[in-house]
């Protein structure tokens, strides 16, 4: 350990620590754009200037390693003046189009201007013109005039995704980020470039112009897109979820997440949800609450024994598996519990960075629960049992996101051979709506509306908690089991510290929302 002094405060840091890391570790504010803890050092924004005692020249904190006894200051008049000018250099050719910029409200330029700037610009000359609305790839759009050329996105594609699509073209204040002809920014991690872009230069086609960020709240949870279980932050208001961003976790996902994981907000929003319970019998559909429907199912299940089967996907929490498996084992009296695996041929695959072929957040939790209860039935036994009629009532839970179960429709048709089908899921589907025969559909809560534990591919347990409520009356599997038993529900889990009124109080709409055009 080395001793050094930051703004007069003596601190200890590990050998090899850079000054900027020392500031971060000790939670002392320091201006910067190009430095990112997950990328190599570029040293180009020249904003993290510090004064080191004994050195007449200001140094950049990102590329200077702390030495024993070093006295560093980033609050001196000299540094403040340098940072102010550094910021002005960033802004003189910036279009200052904050009113129409998606980054407004979470922009590094705005933040640092409030902290270190607050001056009147002396730039009276014409600004440099550059390309706007550059289509970099399927998910990302570039506005070169807003870009401050910090090179974070370029370094990301060089060092993390290792796809090298981006480069800086031209020189001086004509320099622009760009792609080579015929090689767009099209990798599985491209949206990370939008996250790390400190300004509004790179925006997500999916999110741009949809919501002002100050109308959104955020909460941390776990991505359910695959068995990696990246830590994420969902941004939402009372209309639902709008986007997902990664949260740093050194042991799971580092700083990043994949583009497909960004879609985990889509299937929990109201437009893709199963909104109420339905009992279809003799061609007639009866609508009711999920609780009522589950209670009726429970009456028939009790003691029904081995004529009942249960199909589960890896979408649910450890607590839910425990509840439903013990119910089926002891109160229904069946051991015919089956594990529905999505795309079995790529189930074990891994892209080397984060994305796994197993598109379930809790396969490991499910497998552990099956073992614990001694359920060892194979899928082909289910197929046989359905054709011989030895299983008459089939209860299915899942999948939460049909997109990642390419065989969904095929499976629905296969499982519909059961005389009575009880399908519990959070997502709506035409395949389920079109089912003939005796079918009960029960809406389930999504991962965003319940608490519980997911065990990722490496056996790491990560807990989730309710963020917001999107479908009223939907149940978790634990609650379904209570309803099977006819027990009144415990108080529904409310969103801790986020009452309905609090979520997106005031205006939630950008009244000047533009059409997203062709994107």
């Amino acid at each position: 350990m080395l001793k050094c002094t930051l703004n007069g405060r003596e601190v200890e840091v590990k050998e090899g620590t850079t000054i900027i890391e020392a500031f971060y570790q000790n939670k002392i504010d320091i201006a910067h754009y190009c430095w990112h803890p997950g990328l190599s050092i570029a040293g180009v924004c020249r904003l993290c200037m510090v004064e080191i005692e004994g050195n007449p020249r200001l140094q950049i904190a990102c590329n200077t390693v702390v030495t024993e006894g070093m006295k560093v200051n980033n609050q001196s008049a000299k540094v403040k003046e340098a940072v102010k000018w550094g910021l002005d250099f960033h802004l003189i050719n910036h279009p200052l189009d904050c009113p129409i910029c998606d980054q407004a409200g979470e922009c590094g330029l705005q933040d640092q201007y409030m902290k270190y700037g607050q001056y009147d610009s002396e730039m009276a000359e014409a600004k440099q013109k550059k390309h706007k609305v550059v289509d970099l790839g399927p998910r990302v759009v570039l506005d070169s005039e807003r870009c401050i050329l910090c090179s974070r996105c370029v370094r990301f594609t060089d060092e993390v995704s290792k796809t090298n699509e981006l480069g800086i073209f031209n020189r001086g204040d004509r320099a622009e980020i760009g792609t080579f002809n015929g090689k767009p920014l099209n990798n599985k991690y491209s949206l990370n470039t939008v996250d790390i872009c400190p300004v509004g230069a790179l925006t997500s086609k999916d999110f741009r112009f949809r919501q002002r960020v100050w109308f959104l709240k955020d909460a941390e949870t776990v991505c359910t897109g695959c068995s990696t279980g990246c830590n994420i932050k969902v941004h939402y208001n009372r209309e639902g979820l709008f986007r997902v961003k990664p949260v740093y976790n050194a042991e799971v996902n580092g700083h990043w997440m994949c583009d497909e994981g960004r879609d985990v907000y889509k299937f929990v929003n109201k437009e893709s949800r199963l909104l109420d319970a339905r009992v279809v019998s003799g061609g007639k559909a009866e609508h009711m609450t999920a609780f009522e429907a589950a209670k009726r199912v429970g009456e028939k299940l009790k003691g029904a024994g081995k004529s009942v089967g249960l199909v589960l996907t890896g979408s649910y929490t450890v607590e839910e598996y425990e509840a439903i498996m013990s119910y089926f084992k002891t109160e229904v009296g069946t051991d015919r519990v089956f594990h529905w695996i999505n795309n079995p041929e790529s189930f074990e695959s891994f892209d080397g960075l984060l994305l796994r072929g197993d598109r379930n957040p809790n396969t490991r939790g499910l497998v552990q629960a099956l073992q614990k209860h001694g359920f060892s039935a194979q899928w082909k036994e289910l197929t046989e049992a359905l054709s011989t009629g030895s299983i008459q009532t089939l209860v299915v839970a899942g999948p939460e996101n049909q997109v990642w179960f390419p065989d969904f429709k095929v499976k629905v048709a296969e499982l519909a051979k059961a005389t009575r089908l009880v399908w519990m899921t959070s997502g709506k589907s035409s395949a389920l709506d079109e089912l003939k025969g005796e079918v009960t559909l029960i809406p389930l809560k999504s991962y965003i509306e319940k608490s519980g534990t997911f065990v990722n591919h490496a056996g790491r347990a990560q807990s989730i908690r309710p963020v917001t409520s999107i479908v009223k009356g939907a149940l978790s599997l634990t609650e379904v089991v209570s309803a099977f038993r006819g027990e009144a529900l415990q108080a529904t889990e409310v969103v801790v510290g986020r009452s309905e009124n609090e979520i997106g109080r005031g205006r939630i709409h950008n009244e000047f929302t533009l059409s997203r055009g062709a994107w």
């Binding site: 000018w85 550094g86 250099f89 000359e125």
Partner: protein, 431 residues
């Protein structure tokens, strides 16, 4: 003392360009001597000679060589022939007239620092010198001066020519290394310095053409012999490129410490009749300008010019007489740096353009009262804030021009016309 032909002794003889002619005039004899020495002996001799880098920074060559780690890692010698500082054309002359002088110096230097691979990085515009060098390298290879077991000494050495694409920034040593590596020619963040991690992340020494050529003379005459010319801290002779308003512009070799006015008046034949000296840019366009009064006192060595707040730089002397408008001159200089900034570091990328726009505005009669103070503030905040020295190179002329010739700038802003050339348009005057 008049012009001293030391490095340029045989430059007037066309045969000096060929291997045969070069050898006849004593060429490659020093190499034979050097190969019999210990590499460390050569380094010590260069250190003792006080030879300083002739490219611009004037860093002691022997000290630079001493920064190489002693770990047996492969290392590289790069010759910086990307001569692009405006006003500089001495390396071109050397490569055209005496390609083998450079090659011999490079082989000796590579032997001294134990580099088995050396490159000459030449600017793209130098197609003529490049062709001459190519031919000379081929000759030297055929004669066994380059290749395996040089002259039976057991030393292996490869030398290749690399032609750049003509960017000023590739003359900065790490920018040059990036370019040589096939990357965009942008300076690299230091530390690590090239001597520790340079070309292909291996220890690398980058020296200017004139520096490497001078190494031969240090070995031939010994440190003491080399020091016969020059001053204590600025040893040897130096080639100066003189351009601008003199009767005989060109490249002249004089000992360091020579009087600037003597060079202008004796070697260069003085100014045009009836003209008065107004200013001199003594070390390439990035060196702060000095006025006529300072010129009287200036001697051409590292110390004197540093004392005057300017620098010897690459030895490019731009002479400006009283027919020139300093606003026009600065306009040209700011345009150059705006065009050449690599765009990596924000202060330089944005500042060079901003300064050009302001000066350009003044030249076009759109100057505003606060412009000069703003220019000084911008330049001040570009200085010492970036990865390489291009930002400083752009800021220093602005600071010195505006400070020393403020009256001309103020006149232009106030009267919307030049104090020197009146309302005439710059372009028409120089057509």
């Amino acid at each position: 003392m008049a012009e001293s032909k030391y490095l340029t002794e045989h430059y007037g003889k066309p045969e000096y360009q060929t291997l045969e002619g070069y050898k006849k005039l004593g060429g490659y004899q020093v190499l034979e001597k050097a190969l019999k020495m210990q590499p460390q002996q050569i380094i010590d001799e260069v250190k003792a000679s006080g030879l300083r880098g002739r490219g611009g920074a004037g860093f002691a060559t022997g000290v630079k060589w001493g920064f190489l780690p002693n770990n047996g890692e492969p290392r590289y010698l790069l010759c910086n022939a990307d001569e692009s500082e405006p006003g500089t054309f001495k390396d071109r002359l050397m490569m055209e007239r005496a390609p083998h002088q450079l090659i011999e110096g490079m082989i000796i230097s590579a032997f001294a620092i134990k580099a088995k691979k050396a490159y000459i990085y030449i600017r793209g515009e130098y197609t003529g010198p490049a062709a001459i060098l190519e031919k000379a390298i081929a000759e030297a290879k055929a004669a066994g001066y380059i290749g395996k077991n040089v002259l039976g000494s057991g030393f292996d050495m490869e030398l290749d020519l690399y032609i750049g694409a003509g960017a000023y920034i590739c003359g900065e040593e790490t920018g040059m290394i990036s370019s040589l590596e096939g990357l965009k020619g942008q300076p690299k963040l230091k530390p690590p310095f090239p001597a520790v991690q340079g070309y292909l992340r291996k220890p690398t020494i980058v020296n200017n053409v004139e520096t490497l050529a001078a190494v031969t003379y240090v070995i031939r005459d010994g440190a003491a012999g080399f020091r016969k010319y020059g001053t204590e801290k600025s040893a040897g002779t130096k080639l100066f490129s003189i351009s601008g308003n003199v009767n005989k512009p060109g490249t002249y070799e004089v000992p360091l410490g020579y009087k600037l006015m003597d060079l202008i008046n004796i070697e260069c034949g003085g100014l045009k009749p009836g003209r008065k000296l107004k200013a001199v840019v003594p070390g390439g366009s990035s060196a702060p300008v000095i006025n006529a009064e300072e010129c009287e006192r200036a001697t051409l060595d590292y110390e004197c010019l540093a004392q005057m707040g300017t620098m010897l730089g690459s030895g490019a002397i731009i002479v400006i007489d009283d027919s020139n408008c300093m606003v026009d001159v600065l306009s040209t200089i700011t345009h150059f740096y705006h065009h050449e900034s690599c765009g990596q570091c924000t202060p330089c990328r944005e500042g060079t353009g901003w300064m050009e726009k302001i000066v350009h505005g003044i030249v076009h009669g759109e100057g505003k009262p606060g412009d000069l103070d703003l220019l000084l503030k911008i330049a001040d905040n570009m200085k010492g804030r970036t990865i390489c020295a291009l930002s400083d190179a752009a800021a220093l002329p602005v600071l010195s021009f505006v400070t020393k010739f403020r009256d001309e700038f103020e006149y232009f802003i106030r009267e919307k016309k030049s104090k020197v050339r009146g309302g005439q348009i710059y372009a028409q005057m120089h057509a």
